[in-house]
Subunit: 361 residues, 2 copies
C-alpha cells in the first residue's frame, strides 16, 4: 500500500517507525518497558520544553483533553472556553460535562482568538479558574498565538491555562514552561510521527497544586496514578504497546533532530503546501498570519463537488485529503503536513488535486 | 526475539496478527475503516453471544471498567461491589470515585464469591442499582461462576449486573445475553489474541435504559458517542489503529474457529498447566473448582525467593511469568495461558520453572 495519507492525522509513519509497531509484546511491568517509558518521558519533556511532568495515557487526543480538565477543576468552577472551531467547542463541552461553569468565547470560523477579546471575556468572569485554549484547530486549520494569549491571561488573572495542543505540539513552536502553560494535551498520531493510541499530557507545578483540591471524578485519567507508577518505571494501566514502540522510536529521532529543526521543517512544509495550493489557482481558507503549521485548509471553488474530489483522489490516485467538518462540510478541503512528511508527499498531493479538479470539470 | 511471555496479559501474538499490527495508517473516517469496525463489531457480538451492542474504546481494560460504571450509574446510587482480588477492589474504587454508595463484599484471597453470600449482601441494600462482579481476577487466578451469581441477582433484585470480564472473555464460557449481563468489559490483550490498547464493552437494553437517567459525568467513555459514530462506520475518537488491525484479524480467526472450540482450547491449556505444575511438585494456589481458564496461580514453596525465580527464568531462558500483587507478592507465581497459547508454550514454561527451581536450590 502506498497511500499518501494527507488528512490531519493519523499520518503515514516513517518505515522504521512502522516496523517498530510490529514488534512482539513484552511485559509492561518489566525492565524493558521501564527503559522505554523513561526514555519517552525524557524525550517528550525536551521536545515540549518543560521541566514539569509528562504522562502517556492509552487514549486519543480527546482523552488527553479530558485529562487536562478533570485533574485540575471542580464542579462549579468558572471556566473560560476560547473556541476557534470544532475542537475548541469540544474542550468546552468536556468541562461542561464534568460540571464546570463554562463561558464561551467563539471566533468566526477561519479566525484566531484575539488577546484583547480574551482579556475582555476574562474581566467579566470573577474567580475564573481556568482558560481553555486550542493551539491549532484542525477543523479550520487556524493556529492561535498561544504565547500572546497566555501572556494576557497570566498578567490579568490567576486562571490556569489548559491547552489543546493535540495537532500542534511537535509541529509548531510550543514552549510549555516559558509560556506558563499548566496542562498541555497532545497525541501520538499528529506531529509526533507515530500511530494513534497514546494521549500525552504535560503538567505544571500550578496544575499539581490545583489537582490537590480538584473534585471532578477521575480514575483512568487521574495523573496521580500515572506519577505513582512512573516512579517505578511502569504505566498504571496496560498501555497500547504497538503504538508505544513506534512513538518511542519517533520521539528519539525527533529529539536527535532537535526541536528547532523539527519546527522549521514543519514551517517549510506548510509554506510549500500554501504555495502549491495557490499555484494551482485555489484560495486558502484563512489568512496566512493565522495559518497552521500542521494542516492547511483550502476553499472549495464554487460549483465543485468537494466530496467527489476527495473520493476520486483516494480511489484513483491513492492520495487522501479531508473535507470540512460541520458547517464547513463541502466548503473546504484540508491537507495534513505534520509528522513524517517529505516535500514529495506535498507535491504529489497538490499535483493529484490539480489533476482531479481538471478531470471533474 | 523469542520470548515466551506467560504473564496474565499481554500475551504473545500469533505471527500473522503481529504482522497485521505493522500495517500502514489509514483514514479512520474512511470506507476501509468502516469495513473493519463493522466486521469487528459483528464478530465480537458472536463471540460474546449477545445481540446487544458492542463498542471498542482506545483504552486499557480499566478504561472499559470505567465505561461500565459511568454510563449507567449516578452519584449516590447504591452499588454492591463483590471482590475476589485486586481487580474486584478496583471496580469498586471506580464506582466510589464517581460518587456511588459502594457496599463491599470481599472473599478470602483464593476463593470465589458464593451466590448465597451475594444474596445476603444484596438483601441488606435497598434499591441496589448495580452489582459489580469480576469474572476472573488475574491477581488470584480465581474465576467466579457468573451464571450462578447472575441468576441469584436477577431473581432477587432489579440491580444491573456489571461484569469485569477483562481477562476471561474469549477464554471462559460467557453468555452475555443468556446470563442477563448488562455491562461487560473486556480488553484486546487478554484472550482475544491481540495487543493491548482496545477496551471493549457489551451493553444490554437494560443498560441503555439506565444510561438515559445516568448522571455520572462521561465524555471520552460515553457509549452514546460510540453508537452515534458506529451508525456511520466510524469511531468517535481516533483509535489505536495498529492494535485494531491485529484485533480485527484475531477476532475473525476466533469467529472462524467457533467460540465453543476457543473455550475448550482454553480449558485444555488450563488443565495442561495445572497438571504440569503439580507434576514438578508445586501446589496450586486455589482449588481446581474455582481455578481460572486463562491464568494459573502457584504457591511459592517455603524458602524460595519468588522474584529471583522470575528474573532467572526471564534473563536466562526467555520465559516470563508474573509474581503476586499486593498481599500475595512473594507468595504466588502466575502463568498466563490465554489468547495465542500452544501446548509447547506451556511445556516450555513448566520445564524452565522446574529447571530454575533446581538451579536456585
Amino acid at each position: 500500500m502506498s497511500l499518501n495519507l494527507r488528512i490531519p492525522g493519523p499520518m503515514p509513519l516513517p518505515p522504521d517507525v512502522l516496523e517498530a509497531t510490529g514488534r512482539p509484546m513484552i511485559n509492561h511491568r518489566g525492565p524493558e518497558f521501564a527503559e522505554i517509558i523513561n526514555r519517552m518521558t525524557r524525550n517528550m519533556k525536551t521536545l515540549l520544553e518543560t521541566s514539569g511532568d509528562v504522562y502517556f495515557m492509552t487514549s486519543s487526543g480527546t482523552g488527553a483533553m479530558e485529562t487536562a480538565i478533570v485533574n485540575v477543576l471542580s464542579p462549579g468552577d468558572a471556566v473560560l472556553s476560547v473556541s476557534i472551531g470544532v475542537f475548541g467547542d469540544r474542550f468546552g463541552d468536556i468541562a461542561e460535562t464534568y460540571g464546570a461553569e463554562v463561558t464561551r468565547l467563539k471566533t468566526e470560523l477561519g479566525e484566531a482568538a484575539e488577546p484583547k477579546a480574551v482579556s475582555e471575556a476574562l474581566s467579566g468572569i470573577p474567580d475564573c479558574k481556568a482558560v481553555l485554549l486550542t493551539h491549532n484547530d484542525t477543523s479550520t486549520a487556524v493556529q492561535n498565538d498561544i504565547a500572546a494569549l497566555s501572556e494576557v491571561i497570566r498578567s490579568e488573572s490567576k486562571a490556569l491555562i489548559l491547552v489543546d495542543a493535540v495537532s500542534s505540539a511537535g509541529g509548531s513552536p510550543l514552549a510549555v514552561d516559558a509560556w506558563g502553560l499548566d496542562m498541555v494535551a497532545t497525541a501520538s498520531q499528529k506531529a509526533w510521527m507515530a500511530g494513534p493510541g497514546i494521549g500525552i499530557i504535560a503538567v505544571s507545578k500550578r496544575a499539581w497544586a490545583a489537582h490537590e483540591t480538584s473534585t471532578m471524578p477521575k480514575f483512568y485519567f487521574d495523573i496521580a496514578q500515572y506519577q505513582k507508577f512512573l516512579d517505578i518505571g511502569q504505566p498504571p494501566f496496560t498501555p497500547a504497546l504497538s503504538t508505544i514502540y513506534g512513538l518511542d522510536l519517533a520521539l528519539q529521532q525527533l529529539a536527535d533532530e532537535g526541536i528547532e529543526n523539527v519546527i522549521s521543517r514543519h514551517a517549510e512544509r506548510a509554506e510549500q503546501t500554501r504555495r502549491g495550493v495557490q499555484r494551482i489557482g485555489l484560495e486558502l481558507f484563512c489568512d496566512v498570519s493565522v495559518a497552521s503549521d500542521t494542516v492547511t485548509a483550502i476553499k472549495v471553488p464554487d460549483g465543485v463537488d468537494a466530496k467527489a474530489v476527495v473520493a476520486r483522489m483516494r480511489d484513483e490516485y491513492e492520495v487522501e485529503i479531508s473535507g470540512g467538518q460541520g458547517p464547513l462540510a463541502g466548503k473546504i478541503w484540508r491537507i495534513g503536513h505534520m509528522g513524517w512528511c517529505e516535500p514529495e508527499h506535498i507535491d504529489d498531493c497538490i499535483d493529484v488535486l490539480e489533476k482531479v479538479l481538471a478531470e471533474l470539470k
